[in-house]
Symmetry: D2
């Protein structure tokens, strides 16, 4: 089978990773690396490459050898770039967040459907072995009911020019949540607080509380100012609790058979002596080590080939946008609870 011709758009922070992984994916054929600064694209490609750098997005879109583009430019440029690509009949892989507003994102999703083109979000974490396993553990019932989720993603992060910490980091947690929660469990409301203690002009730390349709709450802490890097997600279940510590490669995932049990009993006495503790073993599953972006590229190629929606399609991007917009509104109104409307799975 002929590989699918691809162009990567954007040679900044993330673009080089797309380039490297596209080059390692047999189903793709990387044709161009496009950046407004052609010298930068050239430098990323290096001295030994047959891939062409260019500053002209038009040239890329006109190239019939290019069937798909992967967009890794600042979020504010996504709408125009993705629209142009879809209009030119290209399939599109785009960095998160899809667009700076839900309204724009919805237009792109509609356009992609109209044009019959794949629109895929690079929700990279959904392609890691650890998140796959977490999804399995939840869907198979091994975890039991999800009782709470607590996610911390903090480190000394790049204070960005065009996004705040909410839009920069929370999409990871929200897209992971979207991917692993069991069918039928969706966020129904959100409250958020944020702070810009260094005067950067935009929030550098934020806390989100999500109410889920099951009654449980999920909480997310994102922070650009922490000198230590913490990436820990705890998913408490009625049968098992999952602890995912992403900065500990020796024990990235641990499944605890420890918890608090509540025995069923007559209503009157139920709060009396019927709580008990389980102190069971912990299992650290063996996980393959592979680069998630390789999986992203593979899924993008497969979705194009098979004419189907990818695992992290445009609609998953809209669900994330809906949460981000509601969180932003909550931040503006002192942490008020904002109910989510439609964009739930």
């Amino acid at each position: 089978m002929t590989p699918i011709g691809l162009a990567v758009i954007g040679a900044g922070y993330w673009g080089p990773n797309l380039v490297r992984n596209a080059m390692a994916t047999p189903e793709l054929r990387l044709e161009w690396l496009c950046d407004l600064d052609e010298a930068r694209a050239r430098a990323v490609l290096g001295r030994y490459t047959t891939v062409r750098p260019t500053a002209s997005y038009e040239r890329v879109l006109e190239d019939p050898a290019v069937a798909a583009v992967a967009v890794a430019t600042p979020a504010r440029t996504h709408f125009e770039l993705v629209r142009a690509a879809l209009d030119a009949g290209k399939h599109v892989l785009v960095e998160k967040p899809l667009t700076p507003t839900l309204a724009e994102g919805a237009k792109l999703v509609a356009l992609a459907e109209e044009r019959g083109r794949v629109l895929m979000l690079d929700h990279t974490f959904c392609y890691t072995p650890v998140v796959e396993r977490i999804r399995e553990l939840i869907r198979s019932g091994e975890v039991g009911d999800v009782q709470f989720v607590d996610s911390v993603r903090i480190n000394l992060g790049l204070v960005q020019q065009d996004v705040d910490v909410l839009w920069d980091l929370a999409p990871h947690d929200l897209s992971i949540l979207d991917y692993v929660l069991p069918p039928g469990v969706v966020p129904v409301a959100v409250a958020a607080h944020a702070s810009d203690p260094i005067g950067a002009g935009r929030p550098c730390l934020a806390y989100l509380t999500l109410w889920l349709s099951s009654g449980a709450i999920a909480h997310v802490h994102v922070n650009w100012l922490s000198p230590t890097k913490i990436r820990t997600t705890v998913i408490g279940g009625s049968r098992r609790t999952i602890v995912w510590d992403d900065v500990n490669p020796a024990q990235r995932l641990a499944v605890y058979d420890r918890g608090v049990d509540l025995s069923a009993a007559g209503e009157d006495e139920r709060h009396a002596a019927l709580i008990s503790y389980r102190t069971g073993d912990v299992v650290v599953p063996a996980l393959p080590e592979r680069e998630a972006l390789r999986g992203v590229m593979g899924e993008f190629a497969a979705a194009i080939r098979e004419g189907r929606a990818p695992r992290t399609d445009g609609r998953s991007g809209l669900r994330v946008l809906a949460l981000l917009e509601a969180a932003q509104e909550s931040i503006r109104s002192d942490g008020r609870r904002i109910d989510l409307g439609g964009y739930t799975r």
Copy 2:
């Protein structure tokens, strides 16, 4: 000097620790261990003791050899027990929270002042070497302005009968905050969310956001349902950031000279390129290993002897109660921001 005669009230979870530390404090003379269940008091004291067990609080209060009592009973009993002790002219050390309501607490503080007796809160953590050092680091200016505080206190905790997780665990974080924040920086509002995902009849996990008078926010996560124990407080400052990891005795405290700096510049361009990163060394200060409760007992004895307010006096207890009540009100109203009234330092 004759030691101060002391009775410990309550032989449950915490009482034995008070007994052991009182016995090791030369300035005190432990006379009684009092519990409604005298057999329990007897068992705690063991077979080799000269300390007397009793089930009669009256007997303790009537004993002229007893100048002070240390109360470690359920919170709902504090008001009556402390009031009786003060009325009997005893000095009182009491477990947190002082009382289940701010109004009751305020009455006790007023009574102690009226009677000229010491009323001290057992805010144990304020007597640990690590919290002392954190206070010094902040007060000396070494940390710079406090930009954010994030505190996590989670583990598989005892689901209690008469208090929820907020009233059980958050007093630790709130009393520490009360102790280490620089003069003039006080909480002005609070929002909180809580959840009871196991149907225990009371919240088992809670999140608090505190707005400080300086504009910074402090966040507290308390949770009884986590199979892993995490006790980490990060205090981000303009010059240094403190990471206190209380479950890592080899490195309980770390002071990071890493952060994000914002250079002063003309307004227009301030958000442009003026953010820079410091990647400095980390210092792990040598800290003495000593039991905090020993310090509590020493301070209690010294305050009595010197006729002065102890370091964690009744008023510090009221400030914690004010925060707990406001948090509770916020939980009841979907996380609404609740402004604090008077009880700030």
Copy 3:
């Protein structure tokens, strides 16, 4: 049943722990704490005790209420103290090492047998839940053949007056090994190197290599000069590998189903391509938290009561002494391999 009357001898570093645990053991009745420095014994007992301090060992041995003694004095005094106790008809629990020489130790073991008295070694670690579990894992076959043992016990240790690091720390590792190795697997030779880099007058760090009868080797590193505390034992097996990290209470024991396999094959090609890797799960067994010395006291009382040899009897002490003496001889002769004679299980 009347409790067994006990005296603790030695109020130094370890004695207070024996006192505390004896007091908590219902089968024992602590009568005396004996130390040449009676004031020290008095201080250890505290102001609230009914236990008597004394400086007179004679008085202890003459007391008919005393049926057993627990000796926690410097090693050089063990021989005389234990002999006197056995001669007085007392049962004896003694700190490791049993005596400074194998010859003396053998005399005491013979004497105890002659007198029909219990002589027990305080090989404390053999009474920890983790060592019990390791023994089970090995004896049940779950680990498979023991392929190697590597034990590291280093920290900033007290440079002792009468013992070097070999005699101070290695008895722990050697007694654990003695306890957990499967029946029929015994050390047959030892080589050791040691060093006194600070001019302390005795070795402050040492390395031991033990050849086991199975062909495997065990290695022990003991060191008083390390600023970090490491207490890790790895036991590699043909089916599972055990990692015991004693300074990590959250994960003291981990059982790895990861390793290198060698498939059976024709001799010629066996070293070719038949090595494969297993990357299985890791299991962290739930272990109870209990103080090992409580188990030591219980076993001592039970052995006396039942007239049987305790789990860590005098002969286990001799096996450890035989290894220590051989290691010492090896150190003196530049690390030469020293074959062990008789004292193997």
Copy 4:
């Protein structure tokens, strides 16, 4: 300046890393990747390269555009490949160990000197920021006298076909030691024990003890069978102790101001009470994150350009070989101490 033409020889485990780093080094121009299996070389280079794959070493050596080769083939092939390259007038960078015997290595070093060509060892760790810093800390006197070195390098390693664990892993520790020890401090003797508990046909774990000219000892543990990865080196000094934990990127290097001090005093009493303990702070220096192989490539190019010996020249390779041969001899003779002859710095 024209870049130096380079060919990488060997497209196995390490070759791709040399390729990647050579391509990123402006002073070099990668011309060929040579492997007996040309398809493998082609696969390593990928579909987008201008670098040529070849199976012909002759063709590489005949190419006048090639001024230097980097050899990453099995150790048993090094002698012939390096000799041919030097004979062809090429500069050579070679993987460790230089050759399987000291005699062969010495011939290559002599040949390189005769031909006036650079012969450099890829002692990669010597080009890491952490080893550079350790060297500085020792040479500047900050550590004081080196009192002991303990190095552990264990993990589930590839059981190799042509080298045992000693020759595979110990060169890292020995070359690092060679690099960081202060001038005048050299190994003078070595003893070693090894074991092949899985029947792999060659040692899979080994322990080395090195006696240094200063009187201190250094110890190395290498092991292919450990399910956990440990890479820790402790360098104990009279003033500071260094702990390098290479699997902990958040705290790779820690400098402890903790230790045991021995005060000078009259001979008689020196072992009495003159030992004291320091419990000082720990400093975790900020270290840049950069790939060591980049530094290797840069040094190789600079040495060629400047006509000077590289930092890890052929003689450093010989010193490592001398230690490996002596260790091997010791293993064969039950751990006997083997004195080193000439090849010391």
